[in-house]
């Protein structure tokens, strides 16, 4: 026997509790976030892919939509199962909501004998992201280390993240290019969210096992129709995650990985990858943790000055430009920069991996270069380097 709580009956849920929502409870959760003033965003199908978009209710969710992913390939399939979260990450990541692809930093007008600066007004928007996957929440915390937790904090980023409400949905249907279980970022999640849901569809029916991660998340859950969870519900969640772990399309051996790459900077394999790599920068643009940006100044017709910040990529020739030319002129050295940054030097710089195993770079690479395969190629010929480099500080 389970106890059903209506939206209004005032029962309270604490962080650490596990409850069950049905589709109606999810609908109420979205509605109550909207009522509370949140701008609710979640998965939406656009241009044949699942990407973050506006979300006003359950009917906006990609019901019965599944993705088929492979290196260099992504396709959606529609089924009549009622699954709302039966897909893995698409090309758009939540990064763009917090760290926009292009943003004005300030404008300045000459005034008298000085200059008046106008910075964009603080972002008033309170964003609730619904249906973020565990790897994406992990990616946001990686970005936090760069833009919010260092010596210099980006106030625009910090204010967006501060106001942010996170409803994460654990993964029951990882993609063929996913390897979050290798990176310790999924398919389940224990922290970094306000509410975590696990979509379960078994003989007991279609439902969501819900766990509040914060007091605020617990408060919202208390207000929506839910049931207390049974052992069967909790067991069903574990089964979903176990199955996901088995279905995970790819693996990456992270044992000693940072130092493996650090000591193989002169490995001949970088040149082999370069023969395939188009240096198109797709991998860095879809990556939820890549943070590189260009800063550009312009003058408008009125004589005001503007400064913008725009996403950039270490695959751009200009990324490493010093007067005279780029430091990394070859594709081989740019690919090496990308991969060693993600998996090795990120540890030195930010004390974490720069890769969360979301698989986007594998799926969205036009020629299907697979980071897990390239690591394996280097690992199996470790030492083929022309020279060795002492292992870096802070690497695991």
């Amino acid at each position: 026997m389970t106890t059903r709580h209506e939206a209004s009956d005032g029962s309270t849920i604490e962080p650490g509790d596990v409850v069950v929502l049905h589709v109606q409870g999810l609908e109420e959760l979205i509605a109550s976030l909207i009522d509370a003033g949140f701008d609710t965003r979640g998965p939406s199908v656009r241009n044949g892919a699942i990407v973050p978009g506006a979300l006003h209710g359950v009917t906006d969710l990609p019901k019965g939509v599944h993705d088929v992913q492979a290196p260099g390939r992504y396709r959606l399939e529609h089924s009549d199962d009622g699954q709302l979260f039966g897909w893995a990450v698409g090309p758009g990541s939540w990064k763009a909501e917090f760290f926009p692809p292009s943003q004005e930093l300030w404008r300045a007008s000459p005034a008298g004998d000085s200059m008046v600066f106008t910075e964009p007004a603080p972002d008033q928007r309170r964003l609730a992201i619904i249906g973020a996957r565990p790897c994406e929440v992990a990616a946001l915390s990686v970005l936090d280390r760069v833009l919010a937790n260092g010596e210099h904090r980006d106030p625009r980023y910090v204010e967006r993240r501060d106001a942010n409400f996170v409803v994460v949905v654990e993964c029951g249907r990882p993609g063929a290019t996913c390897f979050c279980s290798s990176m310790g970022t999924g398919p389940g999640i224990d922290a970094g969210f306000d509410v975590a849901l696990t979509e379960v569809d078994d003989s007991d029916g279609h439902r969501f096992v819900a766990r509040p991660g914060t007091q605020r998340g617990a408060d919202f859950l208390s207000r929506v129709t839910h049931e207390e969870s049974t052992d069967r519900d909790r067991g069903a969640r574990v089964a979903v995650l176990e199955r996901a772990g088995v279905q995970m399309g790819r693996r990456l051996d992270t044992e000693g990985l940072a130092s493996l790459l650090a000591r193989n900077v002169e490995h001949p394999h970088w040149d082999e990858v370069a023969e395939r790599c188009l240096s198109c920068a797709n991998c860095t643009l879809v990556c939820p943790t890549c943070f590189c940006s260009d800063v550009r100044d312009t003058t408008d017709l009125a004589g005001d000055f503007h400064r913008r910040r725009t996403w950039s990529s270490c695959f751009d020739l200009d990324h490493s430009y010093l007067h005279g030319g780029p430091v990394r002129a070859s594709v081989s050295s740019r690919y090496r920069q990308w991969m060693t940054h993600k998996l090795s030097t990120w540890w030195d710089q930010f004390d974490t991996s720069g890769c969360v195993g979301c698989g986007r770079c594998v799926t969205w690479c036009p020629v299907g270069i697979d980071i897990t395969e390239e690591v394996r190629a280097i690992a199996t010929s470790d030492g083929a380097s022309r020279r060795d480099v002492p292992s870096v500080k802070g690497a695991p």
Binding site: V137, D144, R145, P155, C292, V327, T340, T352, V392
Partner: protein, 300 residues
């Protein structure tokens, strides 16, 4: 989880009270004086339009904005003990540096900084953290700019019990040697100053040759010396190696490195060199260990 994913409402993210300015917004300075050092190198002295002067340590840099053109990383070339305005010495190599070199007295320049690590030379009344009797300063070309403040501080310490100072400067040709006045002043204060050029010119009676060739015949004590090096990266590499071969401990050699920089804040990713974000972990780094290897690693 990767690392310790912060909860969505993490305290670490708690928003700072909206400060006076975004770290990307410069402080407006006025050009107070302009001095043409060579045909393409100009020193500009800056005073804030309002508010106090920036404090900095020798070796640190600022991001200077030529409004409407762009921003560049430029080292502070004055010394903290100068009471005067903030000086920057700029070589005209492209749009931003050109605009900076062309500025005239009264023009407005944006300043963000200071950023990065410094030469660790003790300031007035401070103790020397790297204990060495001799300081060997090797500069190539415009590389003397970030070192000028450091040498000023070191030379000033003669009277305060500081060690000996040896300054070696390499330049392409005599007309491109910067800071003639300072070189003379340092010499008069007791520093050993040697300048060498790649190509002599009529009237030049000084050294002609590579800057490293000055090191072996100098009388500093390698076993009790520390070294500060700045210049083109290849020159840094060869100079550091020559000093190590001569007996200077690699751990006592500091070098200042350069990479593309667009923020100075650790945000834009352009200044990476292996494990370093040079705007944050540099530009001044210890030559020992990782750096000596990075400098010979092939980024092609």
């Amino acid at each position: 989880m990767t690392g310790d994913a912060a909860p969505a409402t993490s305290v670490a993210l708690a928003m700072a009270p909206r400060g006076p300015r975004h770290a990307m917004t410069p402080v407006v300075h006025r050009v107070f004086a302009v001095r043409h050092e060579t045909i393409d190198v100009t020193t500009i002295s800056l005073e804030p339009v309002t508010g106090p002067r920036l404090t900095f340590r020798p070796g640190q840099f600022n991001m200077l904005s030529a409004f409407g053109v762009g921003e560049s990383a430029i080292s502070v070339s004055s010394a903290p003990r100068d009471a005067g305005p903030l000086r920057h010495t700029v070589r005209d190599v492209g749009p931003v540096t050109h605009a900076l070199c062309e500025s005239s007295v009264g023009d407005l320049i944006g300043v963000r900084g200071p950023f990065g690590s410094d030469w660790q030379v003790p300031g007035r009344g401070e103790r020397d953290v790297v204990d060495a009797s001799d300081t060997v300063v090797v500069a190539g070309g415009i590389g003397l700019a970030p070192l000028r403040g450091a040498v000023d501080e070191l030379v000033a310490r003669y009277g305060e019990g500081g060690g000996r100072v040896f300054v070696f400067v390499g330049a392409r040709e005599p007309s491109q040697v910067v800071f003639h006045r300072d070189l003379e002043l340092w010499k008069r204060s007791g520093a050993r100053v040697e300048v060498t050029v790649d190509r002599g010119s009529p009237g030049w009676s000084g050294h002609v040759g590579l800057v490293t060739s000055l090191l072996s015949s100098s009388e500093f004590d390698p076993s009790n010396a520390k070294a500060l090096i700045c210049g083109p990266e290849i020159m840094i590499r060869f100079t550091a190696r020559a000093l190590v071969d001569q007996g200077v401990a690699a751990g006592r050699i500091l070098v200042s490195l350069e990479r593309n920089m667009q923020c100075g804040l650790g945000w834009c990713g352009h200044c990476q060199l292996g494990p370093f974000l040079l705007c944050r972990d540099g530009p001044v780094v210890a030559y020992a260990g990782m750096v000596s290897v990075l400098l010979t690693e092939r980024e092609r």
